[in-house]
Symmetry: C2
Subunit: 126 residues, 2 copies
């Protein structure tokens, strides 16, 4: 049966907000905006609108029991990351995971990162 492939691919702005929600956990529009504002000049109503759209798309769920609605991610960060990477592998790497890994690692990749990747490979069953 495999995993549910119906995970919608978030847009760039949506991904920015999802990252905040994954990090903070459930949060109000104001809380999300406060965090986003640190690095971007995005207006409050823009964040609100995007969260509303994400709600329509079921990218987030929201708790409306309080005046300030509380938003939470609908899918895990892991699911979403998998979905995004599978998309990229199919569209830019001809479906080859090894080619993607090959490109992902370069001179700027730290020794620590490479060590982590080696450990990951060692831990695989196959």
């Amino acid at each position: 049966m495999a995993q549910d492939n119906s995970v919608v691919k978030p847009t760039e702005a949506e991904l920015t907000l999802l990252n905040v929600l994954w990090k903070m956990g459930p949060a109000t529009v104001r809380q999300v905006h406060d965090v986003v504002s640190i690095t971007q000049k995005t207006g409050y109503t823009t964040v609100l609108k995007i969260l509303q759209i994400m709600h329509e798309k079921s990218l987030v769920i929201r708790d409306e029991s309080n005046r300030a609605h509380v938003y939470a991610t609908a899918n895990s960060q892991t699911q979403t990351q998998s979905s995004l990477i599978k998309d990229l592998i199919s569209k830019a790497f001809g479906g080859s995971t090894s080619k993607l890994v090959m490109r992902a690692i370069d001179d700027s990749t730290s020794a620590q990162e490479i060590s982590d990747i080696r450990q990951l490979l060692n831990s695989l069953e196959k």
Copy 2:
């Protein structure tokens, strides 16, 4: 000095055409369209227009010496793949290459792919 970071990120439709050009080498609009038509119902003038836009963006170069212009990719597939993956690593993986590799490999990854990745790691200097 590192590599030129000004490589423009192609859109989805653009990437489709780039894939054709990387595979075929320099080609006319008709040749590109013939290939694209096999898998998609895209019109000839649509392919033409996208190639023209890509030319404006310097994603492709073109030879206008013949009536049918000949288009070729401006950047290598390797450069573009690197650019796309760096973008994804920064936007969806908090800048961690190892996390991306972790997500890229899953149950559906073939033994051959994993073997290829192991070899790649072994060949690294660090």
